[in-house]
Amino acid sequence: MTTLSLSAKTGAPAPRRQRKRDWSGWKFVGPFMVVFALVLIAPVIYSIYLSLFKDQLIGGNSFVGLANYGQALSDPKFWESIGRVSLFLVVQVPIMLALALFAALAIDSARLHLSSFYRIAIFLPYAVPAVVAALMWGFMYGTRFGLVGNVNDFFGIDIPSPLSNSWILASIGNIVTWEFVGYNMLLFYAALRVIPADLYEAADLDGAGTFRVIRSIKLPALRPAIVIGTIFSIIGSFQLFNEPNILQSLAPNSISTYFTPNMYAYNLSFAGQQYNYSATIAIIVGLLTAAIAYAVQISGSRKEV
């Protein structure tokens, strides 16, 4: 999103440089701008428009100004869902990125036999559709007929149900980590591959060990990739939807209709016909996500210098 708005900004001043208005710049960006306006700007504007009204089953549609925003900001269900994905963000994302980083460094270290096998094996879950992954894990989590049930029976132990109230968020975190470690690993691995070989040679000549090389060469080179990975993960966390929505049918009492902000917006509009309030929630979540992602980008690139 940020990169898109940047390119739009740089595109705009171009025609102003010439005294006679020259439209050739616009002709080049035109096709992009049309699609951009149609699929990105228009829905956002329509959502903002929707969020200013209130359509009731009885009484019809009426303009309510910012009342929906006031309602959302004082809605405990909304804040509960924001709180839940924030907790998810601060716990799951660091674990996932650390695992991805470790895997990327290990594969890049050239000490691993069959490194291309590991690369593809770790990446493979990313190719499994999220819906399938959630279903698959959902069955494994079953305490009666699932893998957890089998483990319990085999060892005669009693693992707490991953689908119970207190464990469900961790269980979803596990699914998401499994899905996205490979993607982030590939992101980091690609960044490691472009480090020039002479840097390693110089380090070798200076007598630097493996960990010194990691700390002084690899990690600094990885910083932009880590920032990107973090931003993607933040957006992913706030947009958490597929996994809880599918597990809900297996654990209806552990996953409420307002488990994540996206689920709340979905259920408000598709089960409750509250399109206006749903649009309001979507816009607030969008702004919040953009703000946090932007803050991470700023702080990430500042340290880089």
């Binding site: 009731q56 089953l57 009885i58 009484g59 019809g60 069955f139 079953g142 009666r144 007929f145 119970s164 109230n165 049918s249 297996l250 209806p252 009492n253 552990s254 996953i255 409420s256 209709t257 307002y258 259920n267 598709f270 089960a271 409750g272 016909q273 509250q274």
Partner: protein
């Protein structure tokens, strides 16, 4: 808003009529609509069925395809387009969206009884009195007719019904020497006996199900949802019937006596087959599901009347089932009415029964063939004797909320928490009531929470 809406619909209707040369059908339709005359409507319908036309039907009941084929054979000029737009809630969402958009809705739609008030009271459905269908009342059981008769209008013709009964696994009951419970107190005792004898066995499964809970409250004589003048709603999930249910069920929940398995899951079917779930209190449409979903338990299951709250006082309630309605958006209401009558008051009922549906028409329910049919799956028991008696014992006076679909969707958020934490169901019901009131008031209803 309503008048504006109908006016716009009429205008759209007029444009389409000239364009599609359906003028004759429409003229007849608006004539009945304007004058409200009920005489001669049957012949109007008959005339419309001799015209070339197409109607669209949204339904998920498997029999509807066959019914449409039989209808087309009888009236070759009418094409019936059957669309499966999703089951239950999925279809209601699409229907609600089409109604809101003002176009795109089908002519006829399958709507379950619990969802009917939502569409009827929001003025989306045709009052079938316009076609003289009010006279069909005597064809149906009192409870199903009561479910489609809202605020004086008739908004659907009943198709199937689900009078409740106790389905139990005779083999498991015999193995542990448990008598078939006739009251809910005996049921709780049976649950304790069974679970004590074998901790892997449960009397039933329950993880919180809005349809089941409302049906149980219904049987207990509760009337938690009362709607007057379409918009004045009173909610009281702490009335005598609701409390009676919650207090009894608390003993099962708090004592870990029900299997924490969600209905319709794979685990559920397995549990029904291997004896983990020893009984189900559920609608009369269940036998077909047991036969197809749990073939390995063939011969083990039996049907008994639903346990009662007062010893010896037969009482029952409806669980599931629904009818079919004509949408106000329909541009071919006469042909739609003709199909509706064929499907739910004519030849269609037999086709529906052949496909495993439990009928709502008294003539079918009382027929000797139906009553005396012996079910091989149920060890040769004449199960329809029990089920038909249940249909007669349904407690009158029940009604659903005019926004029951959404209310049921948040059941897990509220009552479900009592199930998850094994705490007092009454607290969950109060939380549900509060959420219902909040939503209803937000939608412009006047909800009084008692």
């Amino acid at each position: 808003m309503t008048t504006e809406h109908t006016r716009r619909l009429r205008r759209i209707g007029a444009v389409v009529a000239t364009g599609m040369a359906l003028s004759l059908t429409l003229a007849a339709c608006s004539a009945t609509g304007d004058t409200g005359a009920e005489t001669g409507t049957a012949s109007d319908i008959e005339a419309a069925l001799q015209e070339e036309s197409t109607i669209t039907v949204w339904a998920w009941a498997p029999a509807v395809e066959d019914i449409a084929a039989a209808f087309e054979e009888k009236y070759p000029k009418v094409t019936v387009d059957v669309v499966n737009a999703g089951t239950g809630n999925d279809q209601y969402i699409k229907l609600q969206n089409a109604i809101k958009a003002g176009s795109g809705a089908p002519d006829v739609a399958q709507i379950e009884y619990y969802a009917l008030p939502q569409f009827a009271l929001s003025d989306s459905l045709v009052d079938l009195n316009d076609f003289g269908f009010g006279d069909l009342e005597e064809k149906y059981t009192a409870s199903t007719w009561g479910s489609v008769n809202l605020d004086g209008g008739v908004y659907a013709l009943p198709q199937d019904s689900g009078p409740m009964a106790l389905f139990y696994n005779q083999a498991v009951f015999d193995q542990f020497g448990i008598a078939v419970p006739t009251t809910w107190d005996e049921y709780v005792t049976a649950a304790q006996q069974l679970h004590a004898a074998d901790p892997t066995k449960y009397i039933t499964n329950d993880t919180g199900d809005a349809g089941f809970t409302t049906s149980m409250i219904w049987q207990a004589g509760g009337q938690p949802f009362v709607t007057e003048n379409s918009t004045d709603v009173t909610v009281n999930l702490q009335d005598e019937g609701s409390k009676k249910f919650a207090d009894t069920w608390n003993q099962l929940i708090e004592g870990d006596l029900v299997a924490p398995i969600s209905s319709w899951s794979d685990e559920w079917y397995k549990g029904l087959g291997d004896g983990t779930i020893a009984s189900l209190t559920i609608g009369a449409w269940m036998p077909g599901n047991l036969e197809s979903g749990v073939p390995e338990a063939s011969g083990d299951w039996r049907v008994a009347p639903m346990p009662t709250w007062e010893p010896g006082v037969a009482a029952s309630s409806e669980n599931g089932g629904g009818g079919d309605a004509i949408l106000k958006q329909s541009k071919n209401k006469l042909a739609a009415a003709g199909f509706l009558e064929f499907m739910n008051a004519g030849e269609g009922t037999q086709i529906s029964m052949d496909a495993g549906g439990f009928p709502s028409t008294t003539a079918d329910l009382e027929s000797d063939d139906f009553l005396n049919a012996e079910s091989e799956y149920f060890g040769g028991q004449q199960i329809n004797q029990v089920l038909v008696q249940s249909a007669k014992d349904v407690v009158p006076g029940w009604s659903y909320l005019p926004f029951q679909v959404y209310s049921n969707s948040i059941f897990g958020d509220t009552v479900g928490q009592s199930y998850a934490n094994k705490t007092d169901l009454n607290e969950g019901l109060i939380a549900w009531q509060d959420a219902i009131a909040e939503y209803g008031n937000g939608q412009g209803f006047t909800v009084t929470s008692e």
